[in-house]
């Protein structure tokens, strides 16, 4: 099917790959269906979570393990009940990326990850309680170039294992 997007124009997508967030994204509860789109550059660790229902609604997402290899999102079972995970180890965790308007900083939201159940194509943004993880974890800062520490080789491996 073809969907309209304000950022990428008309995009042909495979309907079977549509992910449903029964509760939507916090602040955007009206929109439940999304598709993951590649960024123009396939080497990029970033992807787009594009709403199928609202052409203008999209988020940049990434695999948190690329930037924080020891990231562990402790998600209580009841939090993800609505996405029916049969096997927690199969769940894919992605985080939303933020970019400062002046491009001086890129951050990822480690406290509000999105848990995806790839089998059922269901997902939920969860809030991690009692955590030291930041909603604005800096992965790149112009003043401190070495912040972007992930090695591309590592990225590829992680991305593959998560089949993102």
């Amino acid at each position: 099917m073809e969907i309209k997007t304000t950022r990428f124009g008309d995009v042909e997508i495979d309907e079977n790959l549509i992910i449903t967030l029964p509760e939507g994204i916090l602040g955007f509860e009206d929109f439940k269906r999304y598709i993951i789109l590649d960024h123009f550059d396939k080497e990029s660790p970033f992807k787009w979570l594009q709403s199928v229902e609202d052409p203008s609604l999209a988020f940049v997402i990434t695999d948190p393990l690329i930037f924080v290899p020891d990231y562990k999102a402790r998600v209580p079972k009841e939090e993800v009940k609505s996405i029916e995970p049969s096997d927690a180890s199969k769940a894919i965790i992605v985080v939303i990326v933020n970019i400062k308007r002046d491009h001086s900083e890129i951050t990822i939201n480690l406290q509000g990850p999105i848990v995806i159940n790839p089998d059922k194509k269901l997902a939920k943004q969860v809030v991690i309680k009692e955590s030291d993880y930041s909603v604005r974890h800096i992965i790149f800062s112009r003043n401190q170039k070495e912040t972007l520490t992930a090695e591309p080789s590592k990225y590829k491996k992680v991305a593959k294992s998560h089949s993102l």
Binding site: R7, F8, I25, L26, G27, F28, H39, F40, D41, E43, S44, P45, F46, L57, A58, F59, V60, E78, E79, K81, S82, I96, V97, N98, I99, H103, I106, N109, Q111, G112, Q125, V127, K129, V135, R136, F140, K145, L148, P152
Partner: protein, 79 residues
């Protein structure tokens, strides 16, 4: 807003299935216990608000922004 005064150990019920109990009072801190059905999500207001804010800002990112980011990424890749 409905304002109720409660003593230590007393509770408030909300609807049929939510119960809030005052468990401890220590100076300026109050510890509350919440009993609610599994599908009811309970968050500290400030965490919830922070994530909401981040989502709203994140939704404003354009491919141009990300392109710039991609350039940073490439530059880091090729030292």
């Amino acid at each position: 807003m409905l304002v109720l005064t409660r003593k230590l150990g007393e509770s408030i019920t909300i609807g049929d299935d939510v119960k809030v109990t005052i468990i401890e009072i220590k100076g300026k801190q109050v510890k509350v216990g919440i009993e609610a059905p599994q599908q009811t999500t309970v968050h500290r207001e400030e965490i919830y608000q922070r994530i909401l804010e981040e989502n709203r800002m994140a939704a404003l990112i354009s491919p141009v922004h990300l392109k710039k980011v991609g350039d940073f990424w490439k530059r880091t890749k090729k030292p």
